[in-house]
Symmetry: C2
Subunit: 647 residues, 2 copies
């Protein structure tokens, strides 16, 4: 299934060129596409992932993870739990995907979670309006070599502002450029918003609309009160959730990068808006990596290697907590095997950011599709909790108890109900409420007037008339009051991880090819770290023989007991072919049984082998895969022989 | 939030009675309900789970798992992966929840996955028809003490055959008994089928209906071909999947036991229908546990403690592979902490089982709601793969290559196209096909007739006429052919786990109360094994003091490094209260810092403490929670002091 032509295409290139599409940029998009095709072919052939429901022709934007992909995903999620949830003592929750309309009405998704769509006026086929315009502009710029400079500038401008265009503006451009349906050349409808949520109905009555959640975060927000209580009514704390999310994309493309169902891992870190410092910030402040602040983007400068501590102290990153998570995300991604030179943190431009957000950075990873947003890290201020407070009527707030009561000057308006009752009879309540509702300024004016004139005209808007207030009807004063606590809506800092996107980029960053021993073909390798590798080791009897198979089974048994996943291959295939087969799955270690007392362990990338006692082999593999020792430690411990002949 | 009344109710009972609702059966349903209420109150108050979207009034049948519930679930699933996937080298896959209609049409869900519903004729409120009839009969039997024996027998019969009643029969009974809507007393509609799948639409056109999957199994079946290839085209092998499933229940009740969204863990073990032996069956054949075969149920006998090996050899359990999984499920559930005396394997009655199923057993766990099906273990024969083969046209089959070609007698029908063409012109192809389609019997009759008479009248149904076939137009013979392989549809044995149900039963089986030191209140405890416990240990400085807090933080750090989840509590609350608080979360070990050099570790259920060096404490907790050592090993190693005064 691998195209030999494609492989031949790469044979002249070095490993470094192959695995790094950035260095291929000068060769144009063709090489990127060919590289991607090679990776994707390998992934699909080895069942890392396949289009879902293939025997029925598949469904765009839905993919199955086969055994190795499923194992990689489980490993990434287990590490996410370890690195974030356990390390920070986060409160993990697990909420349903089916969500009633009111929750997503409050969050804004029912009204605003849309993409602009156009329809083929004859067939009814649907397209994303911005995609069509983008494709048109890019295509023109690429192919129309005689284009006037002015026209080229215009198209480039359209590409730059594409995300900001309204439905009307998009429609005008589509008309102006005479863009038609790509499949039929029929004319297109005007753009109109299409809600990206999968809609359904909860219960049998048909009267309770619901949606499949487009993100997991809302499940955390609606539980804020309980979680805050669970945390002993103390801030800051973080809640986390891993789960499926759903977006009914208009026309999914880009494989695993834009899908209709995906796994999100989200953190909502709740913090006092007046104190966004972080006690562990110093753990990450010396990290240096590519950052791409707003100013650099606007002024056309490239992303620069930056010290995180400086970015926070200079105010480039809004606060320490946001900075802390940026640092932790950097560590998470690079531990997984993401290439640090193809990872950058890009700040949202002012027009990209929601009006309520304090600051927002995306962890972007470069792959053959370009720079892809894989993690968003946003300081969303108090927006989400306020939205649900307003809609539900349940106050989602925090309390800060003062160590000692604090004295606060407070306006006190005390209507004298008896006098008001005598004067206004049935209107007494309305007048009373109007007096109490005065602003400080109004009240102090009234106080001054009452003191100087004895009475004052007062408009009661709920009665739609003026009344005369006399000095004996209300007492207005400023008092020093003692307050025992402060009540406020916490800010939320939200790191949100698109697990499928991270995994796809990891596949591209981990892939390389190397020539076979005979040099007549290129072999595929995924250089996953043991943490990520779908299977930690293989067990091969060197030749088919009952004695060796017994040893292999004994080793397999001890690996299971040690909790190490393995694959046993007792086929008579040549050892070189068996190595190649598992290199392509990214298995880091291969145990070859060539005697009954000791065996060899071969490391995938260096192909170097060490010889180890049968009784020790499981614990050696456990140590190097779980990180207690490195492969180099083992090399010095077990006198490494060189790469054997058969590779 | 705990009702003191409820607690008082239990104070006179022993721990054994409390935690075992079976022994309470004699006290009637009231005690069961009270016990359940106490457990559920504790679970909700400590955020094991809460109704979803509570601030908006909640949605029936949807629940959130809060931090401890989420951790318990993650632990159960991790152990499931270890016990099944890793141990058996299963192929784990991960498929989307959104499923196109055609897949669920093939599986039968679109047509048959229904419950019978009745509507309140005035308000439109919906009810499950069988639930209303069941409630009516139970209520009558309980409350109508003067009922005639004949009437009582009739109602009991209705309850017994409830699951087999058709829509018409249910409707007749509802009319006959004059059953009305329970909330309004309005009359009810006739029962009609309501499909339990959540429906949605895939893509923007509205032309591709889809459903949220009602089970995860179909994702495995449609991938059979790829998985078989991945497994080296060898049988048997098992695929597994953990994921969300959705059922739009008409009127969910029974808390976590009947919900609209839940986590399933399913295994599809594919096996040659001619050989269902299992190489590892001997590992489980000596296990003894409660089995409840069809015969015992029908003849009114109770479930009996049975040796699994005997049940298989006697044919009570259909085959070794099915038996192997029953044994593994037993081990799985009891390792988790399910009480072996409240766990039974019940065989489906003939009328419960699908016509295609070879045998089917449910692991049922007894809780306050009665015996609940938590795992289904079915031999579904070739049904599912055949259904998808038929619908998709893609053969989902296995091949058995013979070591040596086998000789098979085969009928050969060879039409002589030239002669047929001359005789029948344009009809030649139809005649040809009709000849080739003859059964062995028809062909051998024709052969005899052609040999004796030279010609024969032959009906070509596709032409709707008779034609005259002559001897020179077709050669019919039986030949000995060599076959190199057998092609067949594998059988599938499917253990399917309702994770939420297992967890709920585990909560009930793990719960008990014990008096506080002063004896004036009952304290709640969950006796989770360390494997399941949401948090493995707590760290408490005995008194608030900076030195102890430093030690506590040091220990916390070493626990994180060891991958052990913990909770640190530096409040000044009394140590007894802090123990009680975490007993209620089922935390098995508490570390109390009462000096800077050594600390105590207290075991939850015995309350016994040992004294351990600060440097050793993390590794001691790791050993006992991960099962390398038992608590008793630690007791003998560290000279245990008695239960301290403060409890």
């Amino acid at each position: 299934m691998i195209s030999q032509q494609l492989k031949a295409h790469f044979q002249i290139k070095s490993r470094e060129q192959l695995c790094n599409p950035t260095t291929m940029a000068s060769n144009g998009d063709t090489n990127r596409d060919a590289f991607r095709q090679l990776v994707v072919n390998t992934l699909e052939r080895r069942l890392f992932y396949v289009p879902s429901f293939k025997i029925y022709g598949g469904v765009a934007g839905l993919y199955d993870y086969g055994p190795p992909g499923c194992a990689v995903k489980a490993n990434v999620l287990a590490f996410w739990r370890q690195h974030f949830v356990l390390e920070e003592n986060m409160l993990e929750v697990d909420c349903p995907c089916v969500t009633p309309e009111i929750v997503l009405k409050a969050s804004g998704h029912v009204d605003k979670f849309t993409d602009l769509m156009v329809k083929d006026e004859k067939t009814g086929a649907c397209y994303r309006a911005d995609h069509l315009l983008k494709d048109f502009c890019k295509d023109k710029l690429e192919k129309d070599v005689n284009m006037a400079a002015e026209k080229a500038a215009e198209l480039k401008h359209v590409l730059a502002v594409l995300d900001d265009l309204s439905a009307e503006e998009l429609g005008e451009k589509i008309k102006e450029y005479a863009i038609v349906a790509p499949d039929t050349k029929n004319s297109l409808s005007d753009p109109y918003p299409f809600n990206l949520m999968f809609q359904t109905s909860i219960g049998p009555s048909g009267l309770s609309p619901g949606f499949m959640r487009p993100e997991t975060a809302q499940g955390i927000f609606v539980n804020f009160k309980d979680l805050y209580y669970y945390n002993g009514n103390k801030l800051p704390f973080a809640a986390a959730q891993i789960g499926q999310a759903f977006r009914n994309e208009i026309s999914p493309r880009q494989g695993l990068l834009r899908v209709r169902e995906f796994t999100l891992a989200e953190i909502e870190h709740f913090v006092d808006p007046d104190d966004k410092s972080h006690p562990k910030f110093s753990d990450v402040s010396t990290l240096e990596f590519l950052m791409f602040p707003r100013e650099e983007q606007v002024s056309g400068q490239p992303a620069k290697r930056t010290c995180l501590g400086e970015a926070v102290s200079k105010g480039t990153v809004n606060n320490e907590t946001l900075g802390y998570f940026i640092g932790r995300v950097y560590l998470f991604l690079t531990y997984l095997g993401i290439d640090r030179d193809r990872l950058r943190f890009r700040q949202h431009l002012a027009n990209e950011m929601a009006h309520y957000a304090a600051d927002c950075w995306d962890a972007e990873i470069e792959c053959s599709f370009g720079w892809i947003e894989c993690v968003g890290i946003a300081d969303r201020s108090a927006y989400d909790l306020r939205a649900h407070t307003d809609k539900s009527g349940v106050p989602l707030v925090a309390h800060e108890k003062f160590a000692e009561p604090r004295e606060v000057e407070k306006l006190v308006i005390a209507p004298v109900k008896k006098e008001l009752g005598l004067a206004f009879k049935g209107d007494q309540r309305m007048v009373c409420e109007a007096l109490e509702a005065m602003s400080e300024k109004e009240a102090m004016e009234m106080k001054a007037n009452l003191e100087s004139k004895g009475e004052v005209v007062f408009n009661v808007c709920t009665l739609a008339k003026d009344v005369m207030i006399k000095k004996n009807m209300v007492a207005i004063s400023k008092e020093i009051k003692k307050e025992h606590q402060r009540v406020f809506t916490p800010s939320v800092i939200e790191p949100s991880f698109g697990i499928g996107r991270i995994i796809y980029c990891l596949y591209e960053h981990s892939f390389y090819t190397r020539p076979s021993k005979t040099g007549d073909e290129q072999l595929n390798v995924f250089r996953f770290p043991p943490l990520v590798a779908p299977i930690k080791c293989t067990v091969f009897p060197l030749v088919q023989n009952q004695e060796y198979e017994e040893v292999a089974k004994h080793i397999a048994h001890s690996l299971t007991a040690a909790g190490i996943s393995y694959k046993i291959d007792i086929t008579g295939t040549s050892i070189g072919k068996r190595y190649a087969r598992t290199d392509e799955l990214g298995v880091p270690f291969a145990i070859t049984v060539d005697s009954t007392s000791s065996v060899t362990i071969r490391e995938r990338d260096s192909k170097v082998q060490i010889r180890v006692d049968v009784q020790e082999v499981a614990s050696v593999v456990k140590e190097v895969t779980e990180g207690q020792s490195t492969w180099n430690d083992m090399l010095s411990k077990y006198n490494a022989p060189s790469v054997p002949d058969d590779e």
